[in-house]
Subunit: 202 residues, 4 copies
DNA sequence: CATGAATGAGCATTCATTCAT
DNA sequence: AATGAATGAATGCTCATTCAT
C-alpha cells in the first residue's frame, strides 16, 4: 500500500481500513491490530493518528453515513430521473441492502448499535434518518406539485414511514432472516408507497 | 440474593443476571465478572454452569424472545380483548418500547445484533419475527371474518409490514433518535393499520 | 489406628487409578480430576483419602517398585529356573521394557524423575536399584559357586554394571530412540554378561 | 541484566533463562513468570518472542544438546589428546555429571523426559545419542588402527554400550542414588572399556 | 513519521480445595 | 463415606499502550 503524503490522506486511509475491519470482525471483536493490518501499517501508527480509538470509530461512522447518503442522493437526483415515480423507485432501490452481505449496510447497522450508548453516534444516526426522510419528502413534494402523488396524510409522515420500513427490512435482510429478502422488501416498500401516495403507477 | 437449590434454578438465575449485565454494559463489554456480580456469585460459578459463555448468551436470547412473546400474546389475547380493533391496538402497544431505556427491547436489540454472525441467533430472531407476524395475522384474519377489516392486500403482507415497521420504529426509539418517540411510532403504526385494513375505527 | 478394610481397598484402587493417570497423561499434567475419573469416583473422594496428593504419588511409586520387583523375582526364581545361565537370561528379559509403550517401565521412568527433587522418591529409586543389584548378585554368586561363571572382577560390580546398563537401555527404549529396541538391548546385555562372567553359554 | 539489542540476542538470553528456570524448578513446575524473572524481563516479553512456549522449551533442549556435545568434542579432540587411551578417558570424564547438582546433566535429564510424548524431543535425544556413539566410535577406531585397542566385538557395539552405561550412571547420579557417585561411575566405565577393548592401560 | 520492542493491566480459565448435604 | 456445588488463588494470554530509535 502506497504511503499517502499528508496527514489527511493517512487518516482517510485509516478510516477506510477501520471500516473494513469492523465489517469483517464486528465492532465487538475490533482490535487495533486488525485496523493496522487492514491499512498495511503498524499498530503504533494507528494510535499515532487516533490516540482515542473512539474518535476513529466515530469518523468511520461519519464517513459511512456521508458516503451512503451521497450514493442515495446521486441515484435519485432529479437530473438523472425527472419522473417522481421513477425517483421514488430509485430511492427505494438505493435504500435496501443488496443482500445480507452488503458491506455498506452491515457497517451502518453495526455502527448504529452504538447509538444507545453514545450521544455522538445517536446524533449521527438521527442525522442520517432526517436526511433520508428529507430525501423522500422532496421527491414526494415534487410529485404532489406535479399531481402525480396524492397522499391522504402529510408527506412528512409518509416519508418517515417509508424510511422506517426501509430500516426494518434492511435490518432483517442483514440479520439473515430467511423470510425476508431484497425483492420482498422492495415490493413491500413499493406497495406501501402506492397505497400512501395513491399513485397507481408505483 | 437467595441461593437457588437446584441446578435449574441457578441456571435460570444466571440467565437473568446475564440479561441484566448485557442490558447494562452491552454485549461488546460483557465480562464474566459482571454476570457473576449481577448474580451474586463468583466468576468461577458462572463458568461452572456455562463453560461456554456463548451458550449462556444464547439462552439469554432464547429467554428474552420467549418472555417478550409471552407478554405480547397475553396482552393481545382474545379473552382479554374480544374486539379485533382493540386487539390490534394492543398488539401495537405491546410491540413498541416504552422509551429508549426499555430493558426488554434494549436486550433484544442488542442480541439481534448477533444474528449476522451466528446462525443460532439468526434463527432465534427469525423465529421471533415469524411469530410476531403470526400474531398480527391471526388478529387480522379474525377481524376480516367479522367484517371489521377489509384489507386490499393479503393479511400476511399487511401483518409483515406492521411487524417490520414496529421493528424500525423500535430501533429508532432505542437508539435515541429524537425525531421518533413512542407516541409518534404508535400513531404511525395505527395510521398505517387503518390505511391497510380500511378500518376507520383504528 | 486400624483402617477398615474397605478403606484399604479404596486406597488401593486409588493408587492403581493414579498410576494409570500418570502413565496416560504424564506427571506434569496430572490432575486430581483424572485420577478420580480413572477410579470412577469424584474428585472430592480422592482428596478425602489423600489430602496431600504427594502422598498418593509416593504410594504409586512404592507400589510400582514393589510390583516390578515381585515380577522380576518370580521370573528369576531358582525354583522356576535352576540353571544360573537361564536365570541370568531371565533376569535380563524381565528388566527391559517390552517396547516404548510398556506401562510399567513408563510409570517407573516417570516417577524416577522425581528423585532429584524428593528425598523420598530418591530413596525409593535407590532401594529398587539396590534390590536389582542384589538380584543379579545372587544369581552370579550361585553361578560362581557352581563354577558356571568366572568373573574377573567382583560380582557386585558386575551386577551393578548390568543393572545400570539395563536402566540405560530401558531409558532409550521408553524414550523412543529408534537406534535402540528391545532385541538390541537384550543382545547387548547378554553379550556384556558373557564377557564379564566369562561364560560362553550366555 | 543488559538489554540485548537484536532479536537473536534476546532469544538467546531467553533460552538461557528458560534453561536456568527448568533446572531450578523442574519442567513440571515451569511458569512463564519464572523464565521472565530469570531473564530480567516481563512475562509479556517471553510470550512476545515465544508465543508458543513449547518452541522455547524445544530450543532450550536443542541448545543444551549442542552445548553439551561441543564441550565433549572439544574435551576429546585429537589435537588436545593424541593418545587414544587418553582420549577415551577424557570422553568418559566428559560424559558423567560432576555431581548430582551438575546443571548440564540435570537439564538434559529433565528435557529427555519429554521424549516419550514428543517426537521432536525424541529426535533430539536420539541425535545426541547417535553423536555420542560416533564420538566413542571414532576414538575406538583410531585406537584400533594404532593397535592400542583390540576389541573382540564391533567398535559400534562397544561404543553404544559405553554411551548407554554413561547414561545409566548419569541417571543415578543426578537422581541422588547414594550407591553411585561420579568416581564409582568413572571407574566402572573405565573398567568396562578396558575389558571391551582389551587395553590394559585403561 | 513510523516502527518494533517491551510492558502491564485486565481478562478468561483451570484447578485444588472447601463445605453442606 | 461420598458427592456435587461453589469458590478463589494462580496462571496464561490478549491487548492497548509506551518508548527508544
Amino acid at each position: 500500500m502506497a504511503r499517502p503524503k499528508n496527514q489527511g490522506a493517512r487518516r482517510e486511509a485509516l478510516i477506510e481500513a477501520a471500516g473494513r475491519a469492523i465489517t469483517g470482525r464486528g465492532l465487538a471483536g475490533l482490535r487495533i491490530k486488525d485496523i493496522a493490518a487492514e491499512a498495511g501499517v503498524s499498530a503504533g501508527s494507528v494510535l499515532y493518528y487516533y490516540p482515542e480509538l473512539d474518535d476513529l470509530v466515530f469518523e468511520v461512522h461519519q464517513d459511512a453515513v456521508e458516503r451512503y447518503l451521497a450514493v442515495r442522493l446521486s441515484h435519485t437526483s432529479a437530473v438523472i430521473a425527472g419522473d417522481p415515480v421513477d425517483r421514488l423507485r430509485r430511492a427505494i432501490d438505493s435504500g435496501l441492502p443488496r443482500d445480507s452481505d452488503d458491506p455498506v449496510h452491515r457497517l451502518l447497522y453495526e455502527l448504529h448499535g452504538l447509538a444507545d450508548r453514545s450521544r455522538q453516534h445517536a446524533a449521527l444516526m438521527s442525522s442520517l434518518f432526517a436526511r433520508e426522510v428529507a430525501l423522500y419528502t422532496t421527491i414526494l413534494e415534487v410529485g404532489c406539485a406535479e399531481g402525480v402523488f396524492a397522499p391522504s396524510q402529510g408527506v412528512a409522515e409518509v416519508a418517515r414511514d417509508l424510511v422506517v420500513l426501509e430500516d426494518g427490512y434492511g435490518l432483517h435482510i442483514v440479520s439473515r432472516n430467511p423470510a425476508v429478502d431484497r425483492d420482498t422488501a422492495r415490493d413491500a416498500l413499493a406497495g406501501l408507497a402506492r397505497t400512501l401516495t395513491g399513485c397507481p403507477r408505483l
